[in-house]
Amino acid sequence: MALTKSSAIACVQVTKDYGRGRGVFQVDLDVRRGEVFGFLGPNGAGKTTTIRLFMDLVRPDLGQVQVLGMDARRDSLAIKRRVGYLPGELAQFPGVTAAYVIGLLAGLRGGVDPARIRLLADRFNLDLGRKYEELSHGNKQKVALVQAFMHEPELLILDEPTLGLDPLMQREFRGLIGETIKSGATVFLSSHVLSEVQQVCDRVGLIRDGRLVQVGSLEELRTLRSHRVEARIERAIEESAFRALPGVSETVITDHTVSCTVEGPMAPLLHVLDSAGIVELDSHERSLEEVFFAQYGTPEAAGAGR
């Protein structure tokens, strides 16, 4: 894979090895401009390390990282001027107000439109006059979100952005992401909650044990799509009747109930079920979460990544 200037973020064979299997290894990634890219992985998979590599907060042992067409290391200051970043761990600021925290970060950027800060604070229902240390985790997360969005960056890199937000604020956040994309920006967000990514992202990448195991659009990933079918039938039916059916797996038959997973055309399955007399039929598409876990197994990456 080659680096392309047109990408919002591009990595080639990036490795950061902390030893004993911890770190990220040979990561190739291309985040296109104008998209919302979801970066998924269980705890400790290497999401935060990868993000810190983009921000020049850690340096790769091998490989290259480009952000907005610039070298992440050489041009880090120019990059940071155009990027909004939300760290995975909330900083502590004892003895000062939320306004101080926002004001400091705005000041270090050379000033930000005050109306934009007010708008974001109102939108997230955040009282900037309160002491930062007295805020709840969710409210501190709002402070972090305000500082990430306040200078209307071209690229947003958000590490677990909805952590601690209530459902209403999560909806507000998704709305803000939508508006940001409409204005031409790019969003890279990490999460370990697949359903959240499913709601806002165009493409997703999955990292496990420090290695990028899958990248694709939601549609592409849905080539792995499947349905879970549950049916109540009139007459008993042998499991062997399902074995020969293409795309049917995980069949469970109990009394007059059949449940199975179907990838591809549904007709052969319906034909068999119909021959046994369908009383009730329920089918739903499996979520990305279920698809990923079926594909890659239950997360067990504790100790890997960072």
């Binding site: 810190r52 921000m55 020049d56 907060l57 850690v58 340096r59 880090s76 200051l77 120019a78 940071k80 001027r81 990027v83 970043y85 760290p87 761990e89 909330l90 900083a91 502590q92 600021f93 004892p94 003895g95 000062v96 107000t97 306004a99 101080y100 926002i102 004001g103 400091l104 970060l105 705005a106 000041g107 270090l108 950027r109 050379g110 000033g111 930000v112 005050p114 800060i117 009282d127 900037l128 006059g129 240390e133 500082q147």
Partner: protein
């Protein structure tokens, strides 16, 4: 269902010892070495002084009387035990007390504000047990320090021909008990304050007042009775190493009773208040929609934002330095009078032509600016590690701010802080001097201010290199060691007739006597080189490996 298990007993005692193991090692090691070296130095002084210890003692006693607010009492200075008690041991509970005050304030409130206490309380341990286990753990830490320093004192006494190992251990043990009172006081005060730092500052202030008061209580008239609440008073009552005094069991008992009472009070206060809220916290006010000014001029740089954030602490430093300097300079007539009576001091003073005795005394007062600046710089360096550990560095570096700029801004903030503290101290010194009619040298004051700022930046630059390389709590600990070693080197080099270049390695030696004369060029070059090269090296090290976690 599994039966509920009781939390592992005394786990917090072990955790407290583990958390303080580095400080324990530093205090015990550096304290023992200092005590031993000072004892050897005093033995040499006894042997080289014309007429020996018997002749030396009256002259030192006269000086000690003049400066009694700073250290008292001075008795049997003709013996190593008596002189060492006056010279070093009387200061031990004060110095150890500062460490204890900070540790006490942090023990509950600090952990609470860092968010690490909630999980511990959720294990089922009671608040009382938590406080008691933390205090017990810290007592073990003090025990280790006591043994280390005590053995240093014992080795020094043995080398001076007055062996008394048991006496040395009892003395340092009593010093540790006196200091432990300030651990428990810090613990109590922190139950009423919003932050652990405020509690540590208030406790240190109370401690300083008690220390000075205890030295002059017999001149305090009706408030002399207040001495009974001072741990320093009880410590002074039991001076095992001073011939003719010996062990005072009642005073020692009081050194146990005082911290016990404070511990009980702290426990009651902790039991009565809400978690993460001080006992004095006001009830929540009704929410009023308000317009908050977010972007301010002083928030545009990290250094100015930091100074505003730490303004209370800076004010406390400035006020404390001013009060101390005013106190020292106001003693000028008393000291000058005493000097006039001592022939050898006249000979010594004549070695600096062009400087009157008043100049020389005020020069001595101004020389305290160096340790003051060093202590201030050390707390700043500890703050830099805190910035890193608490995620502030990561957040700042995601703005268009480079590591080099951050290092530069940190040192700028430190330089401004040192300037504020120094100028405050010099104002205090001037007021004290004017009040007693002592004349001041404006050129001297300017030199002191400039030299102190350079000195502070030099120390800060060394700290910046350590922080850039280590990025852990080890950095301020090593910086403190560097400062202490430098101070001791400056003290010992002339006493042991070490070569001049060895003495010049000490930053305190390079500071010189700026009030009475322009410091030596070599010293200024050394401080300047430390400041400049340290800054460049710190920036390079930070930039080369910019890890934030």
């Amino acid at each position: 269902m599994r039966s509920m298990e009781r939390p592992k007993r005394l786990a917090l005692v072990a955790d407290t010892v583990r958390a303080n193991r580095l400080s324990l090692a530093l205090w015990a090691g550096a304290g023992a070495a200092t005590m031993y070296a000072v004892a050897i130095m005093l033995v040499r002084e006894f042997s080289t002084y014309p007429g020996g210890a018997k002749a030396l003692a009256p002259t030192v006693e006269a000086a000690a009387e003049a400066l009694r607010v700073l250290r008292w009492p001075a008795e049997r200075l003709d013996t190593l035990g008596g002189y060492l008690t006056y010279h070093n041991i009387l200061l031990l509970p004060l110095l150890l007390g500062i460490y204890c005050a900070i540790a006490g304030a942090q023990a509950v409130r600090g952990a609470e504000l860092r968010g690490s206490l909630e999980g511990i309380l959720a294990t089922g341990i009671s608040r009382t047990a938590l406080v008691l286990e933390r205090a017990l753990g810290f007592l073990f830490v003090l025990l280790g320090i006591t043994v280390g320093i005590g053995l240093g004192v014992a080795a020094g006494l043995a080398a001076g021909g007055e062996p008394d190992t048991w006496g040395a251990l009892v003395t340092t043990g009593e010093a540790a008990l006196a200091a432990f009172s300030f651990y428990t006081l810090g613990l109590l005060v922190s139950q009423f304050t919003r932050s652990a730092r405020t509690a540590a500052g208030l406790t240190s202030l109370v401690m300083a007042v008690l220390f000075v008061f205890t030295n002059v209580w017999d001149q305090a008239g009706p408030i002399a009775v207040a001495r009974f609440i001072s741990p320093f008073f009880y410590f002074q009552q039991s001076r095992v190493l001073v011939p003719g005094h010996g062990f005072d069991p009642v005073a020692t008992l009081m050194l146990v009773v005082l911290p016990a009472l404070l511990l009980v009070a702290a426990t009651i206060a902790f039991e009565r208040r809400d978690y993460a809220s001080s006992l004095s916290a006001r009830r929540a006010r009704p929410v009023v929609a308000r317009s908050v000014l977010v972007q301010r001029r002083w928030l545009r740089t990290w250094w100015s934002a930091g100074l505003v954030r730490e303004r209370i602490s800076l004010l406390a430093w400035a006020a404390g330095a001013a009060a101390f300097a005013a106190l020292v300079s106001s003693l000028e007539p008393t000291v000058r009078e005493m000097w006039n009576k001592l022939e050898f001091i006249q000979v010594y003073l004549a070695q600096t032509p062009g400087a009157s005795p008043t100049d020389q005394y005020l020069g001595f007062a101004c020389s305290t600016m160096a340790p003051l600046a060093a202590a201030y710089a050390a707390t700043h360096v500890a703050g830099w590690v805190g910035d890193l550990k608490q995620g502030r560095v990561e957040l700042v570096l995601t703005s268009p701010v480079s590591w080099s700029r951050l290092v530069g801004e940190r040192l700028t903030g430190l330089a401004v802080g040192v300037a504020v503290v120094t100028v405050s101290a010099l104002v205090g010194l001037s007021l004290g001097a004017v009040a007693v009619g002592a004349s001041l040298r404006p050129d001297g004051l300017l030199r002191v201010a400039a030299d102190s700022v350079l000195f502070g930046i030099a120390i800060g630059a060394v700290g910046a290199v350590l922080v850039a390389r280590l990025r852990s709590g080890l950095a301020p600990a090593l910086l403190t060691l560097f400062i202490a070693a430098s101070y001791v080197l400056d003290l010992f080099a002339p006493a042991f007739s070490w070569p001049a270049w060895v003495a010049r390695l000490s930053v305190f030696n390079s500071f010189g006597q700026p009030y009475v004369e322009v410091p030596e060029l070599a010293g200024l070059v050394y401080l300047g080189a430390l400041a400049l090269l340290g800054t460049i090296l710190a920036a390079a090290l930070s930039q080369r490996s910019p890890k934030v976690a």
